[in-house]
């Protein structure tokens, strides 16, 4: 089985809102980060201290206002997909498709592609996705 989509429900905190009474654009990035941590946890992957992931690129579209209430962050590994992923190969990037939905809304309020890379925190050098997953699964 490959990595499935995960869904995380979060409350909108009062301090997430800006002067217009909707979620500030920068806070949406925090929701996405929470979604990725949840994605790891849902797949029994533990982020260690040695091999870590870092965000290398974020492409984000804000499609609708997010008011007070709750949001659902949907996270799926977009690249490499199930066909591309080969545990015996090497890849240094993983790209997540992440969407933030309002309750009952079919279309996302936020639609993002987040590219992450992986580092050995001690050596400060890049490591592969395969190395990261092996270490995270072993924790």
């Amino acid at each position: 089985m490959y990595f499935s989509e995960t869904r995380l429900t979060l409350p909108v905190r009062p301090n997430d809102l800006d002067a217009l009474g909707h979620v500030n654009n920068a806070v949406a990035l925090e929701y996405l980060e929470a979604g990725r941590w949840d994605w790891l946890a849902q797949h029994d992957l533990v982020h260690g201290d040695r091999l870590i992931s870092v965000v290398a690129r974020t492409e984000i579209d804000y499609r609708a206002e997010i008011p007070r209430g709750r949001v659902e962050v949907r996270t799926v590994l977009d690249t490499p997909d199930a066909e591309e992923y080969d545990p015996d190969s090497i890849t240094f990037r993983a790209r997540f498709r992440q969407r933030v939905h309002l309750p009952g809304a079919p279309d996302p309020a936020v639609d993002a592609l987040v590219t992450v890379a992986f580092l050995d925190a001690r050596q400060r050098s890049l490591v592969s996705l395969q190395d990261f997953l092996a270490a995270a699964a072993a924790h």
Binding site: A56, D88, S89, I90, T91, F92, R93, L126
Partner: protein, 104 residues
Amino acid sequence: MACTIPPMTTPGVDSYIRQKFAEHAGLSEEQLFADDVTLAAVISRSPKMTNSIDLMEAFAKTANALRKDYGVRVRLPALPLDTPTSTVLKTFLEEFERQKEATG
């Protein structure tokens, strides 16, 4: 500067690596190897790269292709961004031959 190909290199591997790396960098072989540019210049010239992560991904895809087509697993060491492409190619070829010999 011309690339010094290590002795006893498997025929065709040199051009295969050049071709695959150029393909994944989105540049021509001439743009990559004719002037012996540095890796920093490769990132700057490439329409597919914005940082060293993209560069490493191009190396990885080249290494993955080598494994599939030649059955040899190559892992490059970390290379500084001022490394010229001739040195990268030489390192690739040396690693290829070393791994090929090690795996019989």
